[in-house]
């Protein structure tokens, strides 16, 4: 055995993955009914159980989305009335709020926010992934102190983003510890590239360990035999990394990267607390939309929110369709029914061996 002994927690994770999928429905394990038949009662029961969830999600997701699209077509022309509330005079302006995204002062601000959002997403997710992979590689070979390490790795994840923004604001004070250690006098939390860097560092600190944790879980399900086979065939460490570890953790990594990207695209708390609202160099789309709605310009705020939503949706679709990130576990579901059809019962050992052989074949190809 070349791999380490996983700690109990990790082991349960391993078991979850390698246990042969159980039949998900009664009819697959009984011969009473054929596959594909649905009893009407079951459908009704499912509808009953799911409807509260669907209803609430419709209220808090569908309604806001439609409402945002609707509001983005209007513009409050006269601003505030005598009491300081939004005046009722709102005129339909069609796509003017969207057209304004590209022209004039507001257009410049939008494009800047769009560029910042993209820049932060690309840089932080790239750094997180590289660092997270390195962390997972180091932890995968660790024997002792693993649970201790795992607890410490969860600390950055558990710290609220707003608190981490404050914490890094303190570290990056002009006379704070960062400048002290670096011997520099950088104004990290003012404007400019230094504040961009500050946001990136703080974000990567909080999220890289999280990616490391997910990737580690993916690494621990790779059977040791695969590495043994590769070693017999004379593959060195780099070859093993490139031909076994990386291809086999790719599904896990893809999903982790997707989730991190979607999270980074809606970044708000960190730049808001670390640098502050309305700072050009770190203003993201979320912050811009928030600021606009604070100014009671709901029309343009909604337009920004809709654009951000579309941006997130496009990234998600590209990941799922083009790169094949298996987010919902749909592949697993299909695999499940296929396997349970061919063999109702199968011991874990046999399944394990089979997977190992498949992977071995893949690795040595």
């Amino acid at each position: 055995m070349t791999s380490t002994v996983p700690s109990p927690g990790a082991q349960t994770g391993t078991l979850q993955r390698t246990t042969p999928p159980r039949p998900a429905t009664p009819r697959q394990s009984t011969t009473r009914r054929k596959r594909g038949n649905r009893s009407p009662g079951e459908g009704r029961m499912a509808a009953m159980l799911l409807s509260p969830t669907i209803l609430v999600l419709a209220l808090v997701i569908m309604y806001p989305l439609l409402s945002a699209v609707h509001q983005s077509l209007f513009r409050a022309e006269s601003g505030l009335d005598a009491d300081g509330f939004v005046s009722e005079v709102e005129s339909f302006v069609g796509l003017a709020n969207y057209a304004d995204l590209f022209v004039g002062e507001s257009g410049r601000r939008f494009l800047n926010a769009f560029a910042n959002t993209t820049f932060f997403t690309v840089t932080t997710v790239f750094l997180e992934t590289v660092l997270g992979l390195c962390m997972a590689l180091a932890m995968n070979r660790a024997f002792r102190g693993r649970s201790f390490l795992r607890a410490s790795i969860l600390v950055p994840w558990a710290v609220p983003t707003a608190v981490s923004g404050l914490l890094w604001r303190w570290i990056f004070q002009s006379d704070g510890i960062a400048n002290n250690l670096l011997g520099s006098e950088v104004l990290w939390t003012a404007e400019g590239n230094a504040s961009k860097l500050a946001v990136i560092i703080a974000e990567v600190w909080k999220t890289a360990p999280f990616i490391g944790l997910l990737v580690l879980a993916g690494m621990q399900i790779i059977p040791a035999e695969v590495y043994e086979a590769a070693k017999i065939d004379g593959a060195g460490w780099w070859r093993q990394l490139g031909s076994i570890t990386l291809p086999l953790v790719k599904p896990t990594l893809l999903v982790a990267v997707l989730f991190r990207m979607l999270d980074a695209l809606r970044m708000f708390d960190l730049p808001f607390v670390l640098v502050g609202p309305g700072k050009e160099s770190v203003e993201t789309l979320s912050m811009l939309a928030w600021d606009e709605s604070n100014q009671l310009r709901y029309g343009s705020a909604s337009a920004f929110a809709v654009v951000l939503f579309l941006y997130v949706a496009v990234v998600a679709i590209v990941f799922v369709k083009v790169l094949g990130a298996d987010v919902t576990g749909a592949k697993e579901l299909k695999l499940m029914s296929k396997k349970s059809r061919t063999k109702a019962t199968r011991t874990r050992d046999i399944a394990d061996r089979e997977i190992a052989e498949q992977k071995k074949a893949e690795a040595t190809r």
Partner: protein
């Protein structure tokens, strides 16, 4: 050494430290083996420092006196609880903010769990049309950017007089809490054997009884894990609470500490902010320490498919 140095070092040492076990098994000379295992531990120490150094700095700073807040010693000298006393002296309503956070996060968790258990049962146990579509839609909603919820709801809640109420935070919180709960519970319930429920039903239980008396007790650990994750996410929520609340008596702890301000802009009360940050974070860190195995299980099952 700075944080970024640490990070670079971690990146450097992470890669070469990994092949230790492989090398050891291949029967390489002992000297090389010890050198390699040494490098593994060096890498792990760096990861450890990377994760905890900023948090440690927050704790240390919170224990300094206002006068020596800009000291850079590794231990607070003299040790002082001054900042913690100030945080709770009443002027900032921080105690109330903590209570608000507890109410909002707790209620969100309970609602999300109740709805999530039913939905997850339907998805993992029942056979019906559009199942994968429904699961897909529920998961897709978790990717919805918070601001796209906040802008329209802010307007709606203004109209119906919900601004500065708990429900103005709890209802939007469900937009991320429900997908999280459904996802985690579904993953968990799929792993539970169906045989026991089947046996119960053969013995004359109805589906509902089998669910309540057999599945639910079995799923209790998964429900608990989901509860922890949902609670942590709701506790850390920021943008909704920031937008819906402008009355300090109702705002949550994360918003309250972001609004701690000193006499002037250039005199931010960093000591108090750090103390408040420690207070907000410590319950989470304790949870993480106590339930780390469950949390890792939940996170990797939910997101690392």
């Amino acid at each position: 050494m700075t944080i970024s140095d640490l990070r670079n070092a971690a990146a450097d040492s992470g890669a070469p430290s990994a092949p230790t076990a492989a090398a050891a098994a291949a029967g390489q000379p002992k000297a090389k083996r010890t050198w390699r295992s040494y490098s593994v531990y060096a890498g792990l120490a760096l990861i450890f420092a990377y994760c905890l150094a900023p948090f440690y700095w927050m704790i240390v700073s919170s224990l300094r006196r206002t006068a020596d807040i800009f000291d850079n010693t590794l231990l607070p000298a003299p040790f002082s609880l001054e900042n913690y006393v100030k945080v709770f002296d009443g002027s900032t309503m921080f105690g109330q903010a903590l209570l608000n956070s507890l109410i909002v996060a707790g209620t969100t968790t309970v609602f999300a769990l109740v709805l999530g258990v039913f939905a997850a049962y339907a998805i993992s146990r029942l056979n019906f049309r559009f199942k994968s579509v429904i699961l897909g839609v529920i998961i897709a909603t978790s990717m919805f950017p918070g601001i796209s919820v906040v802008v329209p709801l802010l307007r709606l809640f203004t109209d119906i007089g919900w601004i500065n109420t708990y429900q103005a935070m709890i209802v939007p919180n469900l937009s991320f809490a429900i997908p999280l709960a459904v996802w985690n519970l579904t993953t968990f319930m799929k792993q539970l054997p169906f045989d026991l429920e089947e046996a119960a039903m053969i013995d004359g239980c109805t589906k509902w009884q089998a669910f309540r008396k057999v599945l639910l007790p079995l799923a209790a650990p998964g429900v608990f894990t989901t509860a922890i994750l949902t609670f942590i996410h709701s506790w850390n929520e920021f943008i909704i609470a920031l937008s819906m609340i402008n009355n300090p008596a109702v705002q949550t702890a994360t918003v309250a500490i972001s609004k701690f301000t000193g006499a002037t802009e250039f005199q931010a009360p960093f000591g108090e902010q750090m103390a408040a940050g420690v207070i907000v974070t410590v319950p989470l860190v304790i949870m993480v320490l106590v339930f780390q195995r469950r949390i890792v299980e939940g996170l990797t099952a939910g997101a690392g498919k």
